[in-house]
Symmetry: C2
């Protein structure tokens, strides 16, 4: 992907990438996006779950959602996905940083209309969140599909930024008696909490068991 | 805080709040914000660290940052902070959800100019991220302060949304033989990774030790 003005990496271009492979890997490592758009001269940023299929993201929500009703009119939108990997503790305040992977994607959305295409997109979102779940649960009824808006956001342009590794201090600061390094951060699944009304005979499915 | 059109809770108002206390608690539970603004008819969403002091958020970055240079002109902005608490697995695809706490705040930013006020704001950001770190490290030099932009974002209006608890299924779905419940998610600090150039005699400070 060739960068234009809006995706040209300004600051620290060495942290950046326009490669599809890098961008898609970050989008697949997360499940929460922050979607930005402007309505009546006011910018909005709304958190939302998503799924990915090639260069398209699927978003969904109530048919009454302000965000979805705005986006489906074709408003220019920006979708940002950020994975936090750690705090970078340098010997000077100035060189503190964060290890992270982020994508900023620009494009527009269209509303998905047919029940079949809608169900397929909802399945993509569900499998993105928790692979294997979809086939275990009751699928959407016609009434539920009608109450749900599903949008396909086509990524026209995107850029990725990644920082990894230890702090980079000024040479003269390395002799300071200050602990320096990285505090890794990870979004982790904890022990599943069964629904209070769950029958005792129902076993935990593999996709909620802790990963090794 | 009385809601206006932009903060009026549309969908699921029972999940929402305009109370300062609720909003501030969510802002204090996170450290990463997604900031939205529009430039040349294009919305942007950029991830950034922040600190909070009462109803003000401090943002910082390179003086060359496109986001900061845009915001300091007083563009209307939206700051969104989201804490993910878990995936809510219902018996139907339709009732799947996420447990989360989020704030959407509207306002404008101003550039902080004086070295003293700037240093104070940087300290607020640093202490917000990792309390106790600031007094251990070399503070910013004049040159570093000049290379850093610090913005004060005044929250004019904000709303919070919170979902907690188990899935809520349709009554007839409770008899389905499907596991249902919550998969809690937590952003956790792992074992600190010392800088490769760290002297062996330097001990871990208490603020990077795992919390009990």
């Amino acid at each position: 992907m060739n960068p234009t003005k809006r995706t040209k990496l300004g600051r620290l271009p060495n942290r950046g990438s326009h490669e599809f492979e890098t961008i898609h890997a970050i989008l697949d490592a997360a499940f929460l996006a922050h979607v930005g758009f402007q309505m009546e001269s006011q910018p909005f940023v709304i958190p939302t779950l998503y799924g990915r299929d090639e260069g398209k993201l699927y978003l969904h929500g109530s048919a009454a959602s302000r965000m979805l009703r705005g986006l489906e009119t074709g408003l220019p939108a920006c979708v940002c996905v950020t994975v936090v990997d750690g705090l970078v503790l340098a010997r000077s305040a100035f060189h503190h940083s964060m290890n992270y992977r982020s994508v900023v994607a620009f494009g527009t959305a269209r509303k998905i209309e047919g029940a079949e295409e809608k169900t397929r997109a909802l399945r993509v979102i569900s499998e993105h969140l928790i692979a294997g779940r979809w086939s275990d649960v009751r699928g959407p009824s016609d009434k539920e599909l009608k109450a749900t808006s599903v949008l396909e956001f086509s990524i026209e342009e995107a850029s990725a930024k990644i920082r990894t590794g230890p702090p980079v201090d000024d040479e003269e600061d390395y002799s300071l008696p200050v602990w320096a390094g990285v505090l890794p951060l990870r979004l982790e699944a904890k022990a599943p909490v069964p629904d209070p009304r769950l029958a005792a005979s129902i076993k935990l499915p593999p996709y909620v068991l802790p990963k090794e």
